[in-house]
């Protein structure tokens, strides 16, 4: 099937493996590493008779990506054969933390040591003294609770980003308000024939709300599907403080002050409700608490929201009317919603907008999974037993958080690492996470000091030596890439009825292993109760990832399995959203709870409200005098996946230095010129970044890039790959979170910016000489 004029057709219809000009070509889907979300883009991997990777291309057979491929997979060969890649398990002694004193060991020795340590800490301090930390998006990300509960046998899995400020605040709203899986913008991903399938409707309007899906492919949404639909007539609305590229193709661009999304969303609800632009039939049949919501949003008239957000009142009205009258309309709501303590309320409003306009689970609207779709959660949990379950950190204080994701509340975890209260963590596990590198931790130096000093023993799993593992670990387990192991990728962690894809092993590099394989092998040693029923790894994979609906071999033959058997619309009518098979949504009232009985149970306001960011021109005017710029962070780039990619020359070349975007007027005001290195400071920290003077940000707002470390720098403490020099998360405070434990101000802080007379510019020639020579070893 050809989706656009430029699409190649040469290999359409080829099997999963075929020969071409003396090379073997293996079709498959990519997940990670290299880091990405579970988009499962189609790849063709070309290997020679020596079993070496020759090149990689996009697979034109893939129903969603159609041969298209981003730079992170295009540079796969540079990644897998990189001279700095760790290819074998390694160990070093506790006293050598922070030093490059690793020695190669075998997997058996590594597993033996780990199993012995796990048994020791369980016996001496209790299983809860073992803390396993994970990152986002990569295959290991959603496996984090399973690694803890099923594989190691501790209740304490922890995604370390203050307030779990990534995806889960939105999922919380979704679970409690909607009683369904995450409502993703519908791009016909599960429908054969895609946009031309008669079941599908091209949306009249796509809204990007605090999301840049084009570079990020967040949660497995192939962002450029939005471009496909725009070229088929969909209009775009952008709700984003930055004038990113997509916003320049939007008919409406609402450039709100960072952190004020809930105020804007409440005002849009106000307009739609007061002007009777909502879907009365849907509201009366399928929602709960509409009257209370209508009353609540009277607190946020458009003029008030205009004042708070800095968006023109008429533009807010126009946007609300445009969204309510476009049929269907869809909202891609992003990370920006999660990264504020008021984010759950902003998300609640966005769900309410989707609901009262009748866009939930309709073609071209918001697609949700059926009751059988969902995140892989719960593996091994029951076998922990009630006593151990009750010890998961934060279950009493933050039940809406801890109970939802079976994760220890991360702000409490940092404090426990520092103070040993309510109990001490003794052993650490770093599963695919480089949390010190300005990614998924606020104030990472605090994490560093607490972990490096107070964890008695740790091991890490990654592709590269990272500042995090270098600082904290005694054993390094080398991870294989997406072309070196057999596993399964499923769009949106399985929560959307889109597709499952086969990730196919094509080559072997050193003695690396994949996340699923490591979990299976280590789990057999540490928690045999959860793994002994499987006859081999593929049996485990078929259960864990495919629920025995297919074997891996069957999926591999298909390469991509579109989930046509579960894809249907208006499932609230057919009973497919509830375990009891009755119509409605899977909430206590059976309806979408505009008035949330679950929030009420957790002691939170059942209705959405607006709260200023904790530090802002409005809430702290005196501090703002000293730090007169609103700081937002972490916009995505094509070249990097958070901290990943800095050592790949072609990627580094696209964005060699960590940038801070500053408006030309502010640049003049603070005597900064384009390309100058500047100090960025607030009450929590001070770093240096390189100024990019651009109207991409409004006057009064700066945007700083995240995730920078410098693999070419000294790897040992205290330099530690220069991880502190430009680490924007040093300026983000810990525990500035919402009532339910969610959301921290990664995207709504304040700072000042002052020029320096120094340069830390990257020498790309050195990067090329150091990292450009690939190492293919047997």
């Amino acid at each position: 099937m050809k989706l656009f004029d430029g699409q190649g057709t040469k290999d359409i219809g080829k099997p999963w493996r075929f020969e071409e000009d003396g090379l073997t070509v293996t079709r498959g889907c990519a997940w990670s590493p290299p880091g990405c979300h579970p988009t499962g883009c189609g790849i063709k991997v070309y290997t020679n008779d020596k079993g070496e990777l020759v090149k990689i291309e996009g697979d034109e057979n893939h129903p969603i990506t159609n041969g298209r491929l981003c730079v992170r997979c295009l540079t796969m060969k540079d990644y897998v054969y990189h001279p700095d890649r760790v290819r074998y398990p390694m160990k070093r002694s506790r006293k050598d933390r922070g030093k490059d004193k690793w020695e190669r060991i075998t997997w058996d020795e590594a597993y033996d040591i780990i199993a012995e340590k796990v048994a020791y800490f369980k016996e001496k301090y209790g299983p809860e003294s073992i803390l396993i930390m994970g990152g986002t998006g990569r295959e290991g990300g959603p496996m984090l609770p399973a690694y803890a509960h099923a594989c190691i046998g501790t209740p304490n899995a922890c995604y370390t980003q203050s307030g779990y400020s990534c995806y889960i605040p939105r999922v919380a709203g979704t679970t409690y308000v909607l009683g369904a899986t995450y409502p993703e913008m519908d791009y016909a991903g599960g429908l054969p024939g895609r946009y031309d399938n008669p079941e599908f409707t091209i949306p009249e309007l796509i809204v990007f709300w605090g999301k840049e899906p084009l570079p990020s492919n967040g949660d497995g949404l192939f962002g450029h599907a939005a471009i496909d639909m725009m070229r088929r007539g969909a209009k775009l609305m952008s709700i984003d403080p930055r004038a990113n590229w997509a916003s320049t193709r939007a008919e409406w661009h609402l450039r709100l002050r960072p952190g004020t999304d809930a105020a804007l969303a409440m005002a849009m609800l106000n307009v739609i409700i007061n002007e009777n632009l909502y879907d009365e039939d849907f509201v009366s049949r399928w929602t709960y608490g509409f009257e209370q919501l209508a009353e609540r949003v009277q607190d946020m008239p458009v003029e008030k929201a205009a004042e708070i957000t800095g968006v023109d009142a008429e533009l807010i009205r126009d946007a609300a009317r445009a969204y309510a009258t476009a049929k269907p309309a869809q909202i891609a709501w992003g990370l920006a919603i999660d990264q504020k303590s008021n984010g759950v309320q902003a998300g609640h409003c966005i769900l309410a907008l989707q609901a009262i306009t009748g866009n939930v689970d309709v073609p071209g609207g918001q697609l949700i999974g059926d009751v059988n779709d969902g995140l892989e959660l719960g593996f091994g949990w029951n076998n922990l037993g009630p006593e151990l379950q009750s010890k998961i950190m934060g279950i009493k204080e933050y039940p809406a958080y801890v109970g939802l994701v079976l994760n220890a509340q991360c702000d409490m975890v940092l404090e426990a690492l520092e103070t040993e209260k309510p109990y001490a963590f003794k052993m650490g596990i770093f599963e695919d996470t480089n949390l010190l590198a300005g990614t998924c931790a606020a104030q990472p130096k605090r994490w560093h000091d607490a972990m490096a000093n107070n964890l008695e023993w740790s091991f890490g799993i990654d592709v590269w030596m990272t500042p995090t593992i270098q600082a904290c670990c005694e054993i390094f387990l080398p991870l294989s890439t997406t072309v070196e192991h057999d596993t399964v990728v499923y769009t949106h962690y399985g929560a959307s009825p889109i597709m499952a894809g086969a990730v196919n092993k094509c080559i072997t590099v050193g003695e690396t292993k994949g996340d699923c394989e490591i979990m299976y092998e280590l789990g057999k040693r540490c928690m045999p109760i959860n793994f002994e029923k499987y006859k081999d790894y593929y049996d485990f994979l078929a259960d864990y990832r495919l629920g025995y609906k297919q074997t891996f071999e069957e999926l591999r033959d298909e390469v991509v399995h579109q989930k046509t058997e579960t894809l249907s619309y208006r499932k609230y009518e057919s009973g497919k959203l509830r375990p009891d098979g009755r119509p409605g949504f899977n909430t206590p009232t059976g309806r979408i709870e505009l008035f949330s009985t679950m929030f009420q149970q957790f002691g939170e306001d059942p209705l959405p409200y607006y709260m200023e960011p904790q530090l802002s021109p409005i809430s702290t005017p005196e501090e703002f005098q000293k730090y007169p710029l609103v700081l937002t962070t972490g916009a995505r780039t094509y070249c990097y996946f958070h901290s990943e990619g800095k050592q790949i020359p072609y990627l580094r070349e696209m964005n060699p230095d960590p940038l801070i975007e500053i408006n030309p007027k502010d640049a003049l005001r603070f005597s900064i010129v384009d390309g100058q290195w500047v100090e960025v400071e607030n009450p929590f920290g001070k770093i240096v970044l390189k100024a990019k003077v651009s109207q991409i940000v409004k006057e009064g707002v700066v945007h700083a890039q995240h995730g920078f470390w410098f693999p070419e720098a000294d790897c040992e403490e205290p330099v530690l790959y220069d991880v502190w020099r430009s680490n924007i998360n040093e300026l983000i405070p810990h525990r500035y979170i919402g009532k339910l434990g969610f959301g921290a101000p990664f995207k709504c802080m304040i700072c000042k910016v002052s020029p320096t007379d120094k340069s830390w510019d990257t020498d790309m020639q050195k990067v090329w000489e150091r990292f450009g020579k690939l190492v293919i070893e047997k």
């Binding site: 430029g6 291309e57 041969g67 320049t248 790309m764």
Partner: protein, 114 residues
């Protein structure tokens, strides 16, 4: 027949897949490009809207992926373009396409030595 590349820059998102696909295909070092993304924007117009166009421009190194096209494949940049806004064809065919939609640009590259 003369071949070229037609690019719909209205929807070029600036992903740089073309640049990197080309570098990988031809082994071009950092600091050099076979196709290079030029960036005009964002700058604000009087009506408050922004101009921001991205133009992938073939360089003097571009041979339109002669080996690939001889084997029936698309040039690597065209094949991998995330927005799907590039087309490879005869200039005659592309010229017809150029008439059907504004905000496109047609390149007819050929390696040159001066």
């Amino acid at each position: 027949m003369t071949f070229g590349i037609l690019i719909d820059y209205e929807f070029c998102t600036g992903c740089q897949s073309c640049e990197v696909a080309c570098k990988e295909e031809h082994g071009i070092p950092v600091g050099q490009w076979g196709i290079h993304l030029l960036d005009d924007g964002p700058w604000e117009c009087s009506d408050g809207k922004f101009n921001w166009n991205k133009y992938p421009v073939p360089t003097r190194l571009c041979d339109l992926c002669a080996k690939r096209t001889a084997a029936g494949k698309q040039p690597s940049c065209v094949h991998h373009c995330l927005a799907g806004v590039m087309q490879y064809d005869t200039v005659a065919n592309l010229a017809k396409q150029l008439e059907t939609k504004p905000n496109q640009v047609l390149f007819v590259p050929k390696p040159y030595k001066y």
